[in-house]
Symmetry: C2
Subunit: 209 residues, 2 copies
């Protein structure tokens, strides 16, 4: 929760948190622009306008700093977790909306793009990226889903949303990047619902809405 509101312009945390957030923002930018190997503690400190010793103080080393850039702000985790409250028959729509809305948030979008781009290019960071994908799931999520392979259901649903976010915000594939969010949500929510609760591997059920 200490990161609540981090990187929201106009709402800078005070004191320690402010320096920490400034370092994280600079690190995301440097990792995205130069890759994990190309970015250095020194170049990140310079971009953040702080002494390199402060980076070591907060994050230990470059691995620790990189791991910290992959943390979702507590606010974002809550937003996705909140989508699991409500009728399971509309979970696909709520989850798609909550997840894709994160990527439309001007305070978050830049760091999500930078984080995902650098993590995809850095083999050592993929474990952390996998954790990021599932970080916002409630602990009892499996009990909400049909018993036939709930792992695959969740994997397909989350991976599909991740792929849509990549296509819209990172790759900027024109039809995905140009349409408004409601159009996109209307098109993909039934699919996410199908992955979560439909008859996998046989046919696709009509959506409930």
């Amino acid at each position: 929760m200490s990161e609540k509101g981090s990187e929201r312009p106009g709402r800078p945390p005070s004191g320690d948190g402010r320096n920490r957030d400034r370092i994280l923002a600079a690190a995301r930018h440097e990792f995205a622009a130069k890759g994990f190997r190309g970015a250095t503690m020194r170049s990140i400190a310079a971009a953040a306008g702080v002494d390199v010793a402060l980076l070591a103080h907060y994050f230990g080393n470059k691995d620790g700093l990189f791991a910290a850039t992959l943390q979702l702000p507590g606010q974002a985790v809550q937003q996705v977790q909140g989508a699991f409250d409500g009728p399971v028959g509309e979970l696909g729509e709520r989850l798609a909306r909550a997840y894709l809305s994160l990527w439309e948030d001007p305070g978050l979008a830049g760091s999500l793009r930078a984080t995902v781009a650098s993590a995809l290019a850095h083999e050592g960071a993929r474990e952390q990226l996998r954790e990021l994908l599932t970080a916002a799931l409630p602990e009892d999520v499996h009990s909400l889903l049909p018993g036939d392979d709930p792992d695959l259901r969740l994997g397909l649903a989350l991976n599909h949303l991740f792929g849509i976010a990549l296509g819209r915000h990172l790759l900027r594939l024109p039809p995905l990047a140009d349409r408004d969010l409601p159009t996109l949500l209307a098109a993909i929510a039934p699919t996410v619902q199908h992955y979560l609760t439909g008859p996998l591997g046989r046919s696709v059920e009509p959506a409930t809405t």
Copy 2:
């Protein structure tokens, strides 16, 4: 077509093509490991075991070399294009199978992974990555699809397949990476079909098979 069979172990092209393919393989590896900025013409030449002048001869400069690493082999283009032949009601299944099979091909998978990882991290390469996604589409593809927003239909279908390939082969999300291809195809083919020909934005039709 000159790249047919490139990077297939045991079937090295002869003469010029062989050097060119060796440079491309080294370049994909260097770009993936060090990023576009970190990799140099010199380091790629060294990895390929050729003189750096040969890189300039074939590809001009680093931009030209990078663009060349993003070309799909002619064989792969043909495989995806072939999926468009046949009843449109089963296009989703054929397209999913053709596309995901590329990523299972031991002669192609390594270079696809390396290419996509470095292109996602390199902002200047995303235009080329977008072209790669649509390179294998037949010219008359729009005439096969319903008239309501065929661009969005194709974008959603191709982006979904790209996302699944990323999740399975690059991110290695356990449920996607661990299941066999038929299980995965059975789960996603109806979704790809829905995006291509189903009633977008309203509900999901049962698959025809």
